[in-house]
């Protein structure tokens, strides 16, 4: 069926009306949910992922605690109605375990775990809707949720998927494109400009890879500005809600605020 759909037409438009390097609309919602310490619902187009972060808190299993840093616990649940076909996946599904493992190892070096010794940080990922780019949505949502939980991060991690159609690199693939094209997911830490995660699962020529890889790294920065905007908007809303009490504390604080925002300009 999908072979009849033109991935990229002569006018340079993709099947959903996007251009080659156009990302789907990103929506980041950081409103609190339940008792979670940090929460985020991130949607890339029709893919939607919710992440709840609990912690740092005392570890459930005493035996698993580490004396010098926090332990990360990542659990991924894919809701049965998230994809087109209703399908229940067990928690022991290898694909889900792999997804959880890659989220965990992506964030382990980014979270300043040594600040929270003998504790545990729980990250619960629920996939609400799938339309391609599952891994990127999970990573982006986890980044924002960790930030909203106030956990010390070295950097936000921004992930983007990319694919190659013929010789044209495309960015942020939908499920339809993902099925037909070789696809790459790249996660970068924008402040250092380094790459923390690269996955490619289909056959692709080395020369083509370099191209789409570079594009995806650039797009990671775009996602980063979106994330930063969302985190700032949320924080300023919280500051406003806390009332005018903090406003009249004098000039020094204002100055410090400016400095802090420069330092924390992540």
């Amino acid at each position: 069926m999908s072979s009849r759909i033109e991935i990229l037409n002569d006018g340079g438009y993709r099947s959903d009306g996007r251009r080659q390097y156009e990302l789907r609309s990103i929506d980041i919602d950081m409103s609190p949910q339940g008792t979670a310490d940090g929460c985020a619902v991130v949607s890339h187009g029709l893919t939607q992922v919710q992440v709840c972060v609990f912690g740092p808190r005392e570890a459930r299993k005493r035996a698993e605690t580490l004396h010098d840093r926090a332990v990360l616990n990542v659990e991924v649940g894919v809701l049965p109605f998230s994809a087109g076909e209703r399908r229940r996946r067990g928690r022991a599904d290898r694909r889900i375990l792999e997804l959880a493992a890659s989220i965990k190892s992506t964030f382990e070096p980014v979270i300043q775990t040594s600040l929270y010794p003998r504790s545990q940080i729980d990250i619960f990922v629920s996939v609400l809707a799938q339309d391609g780019g599952l891994l990127q949505a999970c990573i982006n949502a986890t980044s924002v949720a960790l930030a909203s939980a106030g956990i010390a991060l070295g950097d936000l991690v921004c992930a983007v998927s990319g694919g190659v159609h013929g010789t044209f690199p495309l960015l942020d693939l939908s499920a339809l494109e993902e099925g037909d094209l070789p696809n790459v997911t790249v996660a970068i830490t924008p402040r250092s400009g380094k790459v923390t995660l690269v996955t490619l699962e289909t056959r692709l020529h080395v020369d083509r890879f370099g191209e789409v890889f570079a594009r995806a790294c650039e797009a990671g920065r775009v996602i980063h500005t979106e994330m930063r905007r969302a985190v700032r908007a949320r924080t300023s809303k919280l500051v406003d809600a806390m009332g005018a009490g903090t406003k009249g504390t004098g000039e020094e604080d204002v100055e410090r605020d400016v400095l802090m925002s420069e330092i924390n300009d992540f």
Partner: protein, 280 residues
């Protein structure tokens, strides 16, 4: 079962110290892999691959089955792999560990999802009979870099395997009197694993040994064939790398794939020359 103790501080310091001078404990260069030894068994499709002390056996067997109705024209390939405590005391037999999940998923991606075997050529009679290939991977000993060894063993086993040629006579199929056929394969991917270390001045090493793997800050696996086509790139987290560094590693792997392809081809040819295949 108690976990084996992590490497001691002197061991760690010695390894990092020597890696800083581009020296490895087993005398290899940083980007040199252990030369794999391939031993072929009496049956076609039985291969033992050894890289240093890491040893893996791969075996392929074919069976005729009825294909699933949604894909009546395609044969089936299943991969069975298990990391038992036999390979290393780090693996438990009860629960699949994180490493085991990574290895099984990578094997699946490299050997099955990248379309190594032409599945349509495995069809005998559409909707009625297709070949079901079962690739079993036994990990015998883990002395580091089990993944590359298992992938190599699996690919070579598939290349070494010959399926019996059958002829369809009316509704029935008959084991004919023809020589067994090799599988038709699209390409031969090889997997290369690089380990990188917490100290950014230490260059990544190819084919890490057990100790290097334990002390590394992350692994990056690249699977590709000699035609410069990447099949799988896997760097899940670990220490962040520069963009250029990632591309450099891929370039190194390209060169290594060509070398390994030559080695595998000569070994297969040698084995095939010394083998007489009986026609039943």
């Amino acid at each position: 079962m108690p976990r084996p103790p992590s490497p001691s501080i002197p061991e760690k310091e010695f390894l990092y110290g020597s890696l800083k001078q581009s020296l490895r404990l087993d005398g290899r260069n940083p980007l040199e892999m252990r030369t794999p030894t391939l031993t072929f068994g009496p049956d076609l499709g039985w291969v033992e691959c050894a890289m240093g002390k890491t040893r893996v056996i791969a075996q392929v067997e074919g069976k005729m089955v009825k294909p699933p109705p949604e894909r009546p024209l395609e044969g089936l390939i299943t991969i069975h792999s298990e990391l038992s405590p036999m390979a290393s005391s780090e693996y438990e037999s009860i629960r699949p560990s994180e490493e085991e999940v990574t290895i099984t998923r990578m094997l699946d991606k490299v050997l099955r999802r990248s379309d190594v075997v032409d599945k349509e050529s495995l069809c005998v009679l559409s909707g009625q009979r297709v070949w079901h290939l079962r690739l079993t991977i036994h990990c015998l000993a883990d002395a580091g870099n089990m993944l590359d060894c298992a992938c190599l063993a699996g690919v070579v086993a598939l290349k070494h395997f010959r399926r019996p040629e059958v002829e369809v006579v009316g509704e029935e199929h008959d084991p004919s009197e023809r020589a067994p056929l090799p599988l038709s394969m699209h390409h031969t991917p090889f997997c290369f694993t690089f380990a990188y270390f917490p100290d950014p001045t230490i260059l990544p090493v190819l084919d890490p040994s057990h100790l290097e793997q334990r002390l590394s800050a992350g692994l990056m696996s690249v699977a590709l064939n000699a035609q410069r086509e990447l099949c799988v790139v896997q760097k899940a987290g670990g220490m962040p790398l520069d963009q250029q560094e990632v591309l450099r590693i891929v370039d190194v792997a390209v060169g290594k794939a060509k070398e390994l392809d030559k080695l595998v081809e000569t070994r297969l040819k040698e084995d095939w020359a010394g083998r007489t295949v009986e026609v039943r």
